[in-house]
Symmetry: C2
Subunit: 333 residues, 2 copies
């Protein structure tokens, strides 16, 4: 295992220390329990938006804390759900009196621990509304999940929910637009290589030099099938076809197209893939009106990519375009 | 070789096609010769800023084209200098009548080809001022270079030069502040793994599983020495110590600290390294007043990182903070 770390057991707190040092204008970091919150939280009279999950997917979620997006992010150990007490502490810290939206990726541990935290927060007088994201079309159940996994769609969900909260929507309204994102977003990914969790020291799986895993999960859990390494045209067609046909997206739809790197794939390949995806969508009469290309939800140093497609309406487009000021997404400020 | 590509010979034009599709609000891409220019170029009455070099270092340089930074970027083939005619065409395309600054990383091919292009532009009536960046403290000469290599310092140089041009400075003034950046910025990098150029198909070098290369170049060219894999504390201390002692940076200096990923290193490791570097600088009484953490000048999928430190004055700080709207850096707009 080759990593720029000290003790594998301290990777997350040491990284959080650095994150706090780099972005002290945007966030404050609390250690024990660990959470990242907006520097100006709680924002009184605003619905708070909280997300979280295992670390190793950076910039998700901490990179999305700031004005116009998340009020807090709760990072667990690498690929391990945060505890209920950490989610509760973050929820209490950012509650501004108008309730808290929990954005939860559909993994068994995350769902259970956020549920427990929501119950405890409720007993404390804080109204919590959960939204579970399950956009991965690749598989129904997996090592970590009952039902579909939450993957790339989490990024536009957090942006749009955060913008709705920022403009003053109440908890029911923020929840409703968030559920509309969940209903209209689909994703699928591919791995070219595995990744290595620091405290295990061993690759999460073994992939032969001439094979790729279509439908990979963001923890390296199995996908749909292993196939021989293909040209980019075929890889992208495979991912995008599954995504488009699932919703299904249709001629005339306006969409946000996100081509996401899993952490170890060069930008030159992500842009090449974006070009292919945009052309294939044009062939189907589907408009790409917003785009995002880069490392936004990763699996440590895994080489690979995912395609996320969100069917936009006018309101979602406005909320996507609204100002945001976080470590990983920033515009309008 | 596992990459998301089609024909290895077409990687750069296919990636440029995708880049144009993803960022049509910011850039236009010209193919044959290849260059990326601001969508609103030429900007009349403004000094134009042009950079370029081999591809494979993305987001450098195309990701920095846009308002407040570069007017054009000229991408060569992967790790190969752009031709003089491509640099000339970009220079002509963005000239707004006030002259053009060429930002050139100190590699033999880049320097020669930008010089030739500048002569040809001069014959065409365009005044060109070159600034050569050579911030790498690791080695004096290398496979690609006479003298020191240009590496991470290129990013703040392009930002600050672009901001000076945007506020209306004339060519001599933009050149002077650019030279002040070059005089005050130092960098050094480390590789944990090699990278593979698509058209070669083989790793650029071989690094044993238990060794790292301190002082690596951005093309995978040799550094100062190979050493056993070390804890992050020692890696960062080694890089930062060489950087600090070279200028030298001194107690009381205000600085921009950039911790840059080489393309294949997870953000969690980069933030961990940033935290160490910030602490070591605080121990020396050197203030980190601005920071940048992420993949900003890369070597394809190489795992590794570099540390760049720029000694700031008030004017450089203002120019760093000025609005920028590019694919890879955006604030204030």
């Amino acid at each position: 295992m080759k990593k720029i770390i000290n003790d594998p057991a301290n990777v997350v707190p040491e990284a959080l220390h650095g994150f706090a040092a780099a972005h002290s204008d945007i966030v404050r970091v609390h250690l024990g329990p660990d959470y990242i919150m907006r520097a100006d939280a709680p924002v009184s009279g605003k619905v708070a938006v909280v997300s979280g999950g295992g670390s190793g997917h950076e910039p998700l979620h901490g990179g999305y804390v700031g004005a116009g997006m998340l009020d807090a992010a709760v990072p667990g150990p690498v690929f391990t759900s945060p505890t209920p007490d950490a989610v509760l502490a973050a929820t209490q810290a950012v509650d501004g009196g108008k309730g808290v939206l929990h954005i939860v990726k559909n993994y068994t541990g995350d769902v259970l621990n956020f549920e427990t935290a929501a119950e405890l927060a409720g007993a404390d007088g804080i109204e919590v509304s959960p939204v579970v994201i399950n956009d991965d079309v690749a598989v129904e159940d997996s090592t970590y999940t009952a039902g579909r996994r939450g993957v790339g769609g989490t990024v536009p969900l957090e942006k749009i929910a955060g913008a709705a909260a920022a403009r003053g929507d109440d908890l029911a309204t923020v929840t409703a637009v968030s559920q509309r994102v969940v209903a209209n977003v689909r994703s699928m990914g591919v791995a070219l290589t595995a990744c290595t969790v620091p405290h295990s020291g061993e690759p999460s799986f073994v992939l032969p030099d001439d094979e790729i895993e279509m439908g990979i999960g963001i923890h390296g859990e199995p996908g749909r099938r292993r196939v021989a390494l293909q040209p980019a045209d075929e890889i992208v067609a495979g991912l995008l076809g599954a995504v488009v046909e699932d919703l299904p997206f249709q001629r005339g739809d306006r969409t946000l197209l996100m081509v996401n790197g899993m952490g170890g794939t060069p930008q030159i390949e992500l842009y090449l893939a974006f070009g292919i995806a945009a052309r294939l969508l044009a062939d189907r009469g589907i408009e790409v009106s917003r785009s995002l290309v880069g490392n936004y939800i990763t699996s440590l140093e895994m080489q690979g990519m995912s395609v996320t497609l969100l069917k936009l309406d006018d309101e979602m487009t406005q909320l996507w375009d609204a100002p945001v000021h976080t470590a990983a997404l920033r515009w309008g400020t």
